[in-house]
């Protein structure tokens, strides 16, 4: 294949070709004249921030959305009025982060869902079982058709989801952040599978936030920003800085502020903390510093921090806040003592989506005399104060009564952050503060965090976004499977050092320590 002229090979192998695709939602142009093509047997990474248009493009390709304009060619033939069903019939299948599995049904039943076999009036269970077994065997997954999906791990569920894509002839496989919740071992399995599928001539569209993965599996990369294609490049022709610049339109120095750390006394001290998914960790946070918690999803970094706020129950260990034992305090008590927690999932744990910014900002502060007296609200003072805070954080639009669900992700996050200014907090626990936030708001949030630190607050930053931890924290704790793997300081905080501990594996120290702690599962 490599001996053919590249141009010709390219033309021949294109499975899917999108020309000038635009998609308009009420008020937003989600995709703007996007050109995209996919060749057989390649991994084409879609790269961009949240809101850049990746999901919309995938939606158009899978038939979930109709493009407002533009056309799509499948193996050279235009397809019109694409529906999900129609796309399937072309062999276009997507595996999303949110699984479309029925947890109560078995693996086999899930694989047959929507394509059940019947002999006359009854289900032909044996035929379906055989088909399921055949697919699982072909993919060499450690699954059995009779397992109930709800009892499987997330990685196994994802395998079922991928297996579903293989029910019929597959020509385009779309994987939307497939590794977000996988362990490194499971990730390795997935990558092996991707290689196998590639070899069969399937084109793969892959979205991810992780630079490291792109290096490992990408053939080509298309960078999206604000609904437009910024560039389509060969994977070996770009380095990470270049990718970051393409994605954000800025160089690193413009994104992250310079911070003057002045560590003083210890505010939060945790000794031997254990929770449901954290195992004997100890750490501390001082005034005037930003401590980063890094690690994969499920490594326990978030759980450890939540325990400090009373949102997770500690099983063991001691938590001291400003010298006092607060081990089993409730969030209410921790707020009163001066700790602030920003939850990672603002929809499910942070905001009242149907209420306005005013009520959302004042919610944890209604106890204060600023907002209420003898149980009665001081609504005028509330309006005034919350408006001032929203203004300070540059809430866009500055409409205090508009339900927050109609704000962008970045502005929703600003509403949450405004809560941290309703009183003088000593400790800020920020759990994924920039998740789902556009670049402009992200820069503003980084500025905000830097200010908190320089004004002498203690900041605990939990983040799955590696650059964020690398550039904002002066000390970093790295979590791996519920344990603390390492603590890095100042100049030692490099991507290489952090990543080495991220996946746990290669130094014997950790496994020796980790082995007795998890005897059985």
């Amino acid at each position: 294949m490599s001996q053919r002229p590249p141009q010709a090979a390219m033309e021949e192998n294109i499975i899917l070709h999108c020309q000038g695709i635009s998609k308009r939602f009420p008020g937003v142009l989600a995709l703007d004249q996007v050109d995209f093509d996919l060749r057989a047997g390649e991994v084409h990474v879609l790269f961009g921030e949240n809101g850049a248009g990746k999901s919309t493009l995938i939606g158009v390709i899978t038939g979930a959305y109709q493009p407002t304009s533009g056309r799509m060619l499948f193996r050279g033939q235009e397809i019109k009025n694409q529906s999900v069903h129609h796309a399937r019939s072309h062999g276009i299948s997507a595996v999303f982060q949110e699984f479309s599995l029925v947890p109560q049904l078995t693996v086999g039943e899930n694989l047959a869902l929507g394509a059940e076999r019947e002999n006359r009036w009854l289900l032909d269970k044996r035929a379906m079982q055989n088909e399921a077994s055949a697919i699982i065997q072909k993919l060499a997954f450690p699954l059995h058709p009779n397992q109930v999906v709800g009892h499987l791990s997330r990685a196994e569920q994802q395998m079922v989801e991928i297996a579903k894509a293989f029910r019929s002839e597959l020509s385009v496989l779309i994987l939307d952040e497939p590794t977000a919740s996988l362990t490194e071992k499971e990730t390795a399995r997935l990558f092996a599978l991707i290689k196998q599928v590639k070899a069969e001539g399937v084109g793969i569209i892959y979205t991810t936030h992780r630079m490291a993965e792109i290096k490992q599996i990408a053939d080509r990369i298309t960078v999206l920003r604000d609904g437009r294609v910024i560039a389509t490049v060969d994977a070996d022709a770009v380095d990470e800085n270049e990718l970051l610049r393409l994605m954000t339109g800025r160089v690193i120095e413009q994104v992250f502020p310079q911070i003057n750390y002045r560590p003083q006394e210890v505010v939060l001290e945790v000794n031997n903390l254990s929770t449901r998914d954290v195992d004997h960790v100890s750490f501390y946070v001082r005034r005037g510093e930003i401590v980063g918690f890094a690690g994969l999803v499920g490594s326990g970094k978030s759980s450890a921090a939540r325990a400090c706020f009373g949102a997770v129950h500690p099983r063991w260990g001691e938590i001291r806040f400003r010298g006092e034992d607060v081990t089993r305090s409730s969030p209410k008590e921790m707020l009163a003592r001066g700790a602030f927690y920003l939850p990672s999932d603002r929809r499910s744990e942070g905001l009242l989506m149907q209420r306005g910014a005013r009520e959302n900002i004042s919610l944890p502060a209604l106890d204060l005399s600023m907002f209420s007296r003898f149980g009665f609200l001081r609504r005028h003072a509330e309006s005034r104060h919350t408006r001032a805070l929203a203004k300070q954080l540059r809430l866009q639009p500055l409409d205090m009564e508009r339900p927050v669900e109609f704000f962008s992700g970045g502005n929703q996050q600003k509403v949450l952050l405004a809560r941290s200014l309703t009183r003088d907090f000593d400790l800020f626990i920020l759990d994924e503060p920039t998740i789902g936030v556009d670049m402009g708001a992200r820069v503003a949030i980084y500025e905000f965090i830097a200010q908190l630190c320089e004004q002498g607050a203690a900041v605990l930053l939990i983040s799955s976004d590696l650059p964020e931890v690398l550039h904002l924290a002066n000390r970093v704790y790295i979590f791996h499977r519920g344990r603390l793997k390492a603590e890095l300081q100042d100049a030692d905080i490099t991507e290489e050092n952090v990543l080495r501990h991220f996946f746990g594996g290669n130094d014997g120290h950790a496994t020796a320590q980790g082995a007795p702690a998890r005897p059985t599962t």
Binding site: P343, S348, G350, L363, L377, F406
Partner: protein, 341 residues
Amino acid sequence: MPVEAVSSTIPRKVVSSVQRIFVKVGVLPFLLVIAIIIFTTLSDNYLTWRNMLNVSRQSTYLIIVAIGQMIVLLTGGFDLSVGSIIALTSVVSATVMSAVYGANNDAVALAIVLGVLAGLVVGSFVGVLNGAGVALFDVSPFMMTLGMSSVAFGVSLFMTGGVPVYGLPPQYSDIFGFGDLLNVPTPIWVTLGIILISYLRLNWTKTGRYFYAVGGNIKASALSGINTKYILFHVYVLSAALAAIAGLLLTARLETGEANIGASFPLESIAACVIGGVSLRGGVGRIENVVLGAIFIGLVQNGMNLARIESYLQIVVLGILLIVAVIADQLRQRYVAVLHD
């Protein structure tokens, strides 16, 4: 083509402004106007001062219960036991009153006070159990209040054998059932007081704000330092207490304690809330609209009575109205999303 364009622009303008009003205020004003127009044409006696005062008085019981129901709905729950609470309150208060009054015909005030207290305490206690089940044991509000509804109804039937309780002091009905002050019936005064207090509670106190917060997002509320279990407990007790007050007023009106007076209240109170724009998912709702919703149901029932529509058929109409209101609310949600981009 141009002719067509001209003829279609005018209605389109009207349609779009109707749409905007609909999004802003919901379906209720439209229903009210339609109902009043229909019933005024059907009966000359409908739109008269006397009849409207009559409708208001008849609506008071539902208004009181609907306010309690709304508070529970705000937190994302239901209270299906309001009807049985009314029945139990009626039976208990009437039994106590007639016992005390029967023992000593002079102790009118004592009989009334003891009867009212007994009714309030027993009725509210059903709410205490509801609240404990929902807040402490995580029973779904649907099952908890449905179960308690059966318990409370069973107890009221058991206490009376299904026979009305007679022998109340006549002054009780004279004052709370048929009395008036400044030409306005007593139940209306009581209801106005409850509306005012509830309005202040919901909109001007911390606890009121927490009702909305817990229904809007219970996890976020807990992380914001709100005692969510207490709030959940609180709303069921409030709803039960309000239902008990309605039960006391109804008992005064009927001059007997009866176990069969509450059956229609669960549906009608939820209908009043939904027609008034309260979200069944919790977190959204305004008391003014709920009061209007209850009055609307009263207007329709009164209108149907005047138009001589059979009472069994009226139940059918009510069910249909409820469903229409929910569908209209869904449509409205869609428009709201478009309006906010």
